[in-house]
Amino acid sequence: MNEKVLMKGNEAFAEAAIRYDCKYYFGYPITPQNEIPEYMSRELSKADGVFVQAESELAAVNMAYGASAAGGRVMISSSSPGFALMQEGMSFLCSVEAPCVIINVSRGGPGIGTILPGQADYYQATRGGGNGDYHLIVLAPASIQESITLIGKAFELSDQYRNPVLILVDGMIGQMMEPVILPDYHSGKQIDKPWALTGTKGIRPPNTIKSVYLKAEELEAWNWHLLEKYRKIIDCEVSYETRNLEDAEIVFVAYGTTSRIIREAMEILEADHIRSGLIRPISLWPYPYQSFDEMSSSTKAVLVVELSQGQMIDDVKIGVNGRFPVSYVGRFGGTVISPEEVASEAKRILGVV
């Protein structure tokens, strides 16, 4: 086992990607994720990889598509406005089934917004900002260590399903430092990519990677193929964590940074003899709707906590399916909600003063 080291989130993401055998990284500067391209520019070539500073996020995602189509293991990263610019590429990568790992170190919006953390890109990540029926697999780590693990998993899922995988973290996790254990070098599992563009070498028919289907029936058939894949991902790749659901009077739902704030809020409530629980989705798509079936009859309310105006609450309502009242509390625009604010909102909902 490797030793514990103290690392900044963004640098740990980059180092983890290298150790999982990412060989191609394309990036454009944007705060709060600049340490990723900077780290890659310095370190990736030492691991026989290639870094390119793209002229825009639009170019970066298309460079990633090219490298992926050519059979390479690719990662790109950005932050909210840059990820918005990559949406054409997200739809395209899904359409042609090109594997790719993307990290969005998200910040407050809309527009240019702020460089401070935010969770307001949830719709864009889980509903998609590009055109057509498509899904990214979306994973939301709550610590730097978990980010490292999920980056490894993201490369595997991406190759296995031939689908882009998005790691959605916020600027808080990107910018903070935590002690972490890194994986060994060459920890990435590799699979054959017989579909990749390599040149035929005169020994096989040409490989074609295409997105256009001029006949409706052909495009519908391709959509069926994608839908079956998405259904399989929904069946196999849901992940989440729960705490104290057995006897909770109130259940919080939160992902990433916010779930860590909830843990402190739960301690405040416990001191006041209020039992609370937590559902923390780790995969945001596919969404862990089934986790809400684990809630007990002692629960009186569900409170969704987000650094947005309330986006994940839609999924929570689908999961709760009318069984419990669902409400939301959050801060946004780069501010971060405090455990005290969360605890007092919980008390207000429960009618405890």
Partner: protein, 258 residues
Amino acid sequence: MKTVFEFTKGMTREESIYCPGCTHGIAHRLIMEVLDEMDLLGETIGISPVGCSILAHRYMSVDMCEAAHGRAPAIATGIKRVHPDCTLFTYQGDGDLASIGTGEIIHAAHRGEKFTTFFVNNAIYGMTGGQMAPTTLVGQKTTTTQEGRSELLCGKPLRMAEMIATIEGAVFVERVSLDSPSSIFKAKKVFRKAIEIQQKKLGFGFIEILSTCPTNWGLSPIDSMEWLRTHMIPYFPLGNFRKPGDREMACGQEMGAK
């Protein structure tokens, strides 16, 4: 019996969807003939654009992928990083390259990417039904300039070859035409030269190909050729705008290997 004409190995037997008199087919064939003659078909990767030639991969018998509108040069950049020794080309129309994809083409040239771009300038958007392109001539009627392109409102057409030639990373830039058998033979020589330069890894190569679109120009195929000669060539002069010197060509291989 001596064979005087053969089907090019680089082209599939697929029937094309191009209109009668369209020069995309000629351009495809020339590229594939050159790659075949240089014995590079097995090493080649191509990128087709969004435009009439979106299905180029159906006709060209090499590994290919499609690009979103205008993004082919960025995709090529990614492919070349994975396979630095492959022969790589993008094939793009004037809406694709000179309008929505200007950023990508300029920066591929800027980085001196080691691939070749075949830029088909037919002075119009073919696939979407004949709207104005950045290369549409002043006074030319299109479905979005029904009284003819107005210089006052739309400016004068972009000369892409001249623009790309100002960029240091673009080592080979030439404009050719497909209006006659002799220009087609000349064009083929230029294509070959561009691929040779790519093999030496000297930098970015760009060939602008003046082409016709009889359907959207509203002219017969023969009149289209004449229109290309009388209207396009005077504004888009043929010729070389940039090429490596003999010395660079000679030591190219060594430089590229570094």
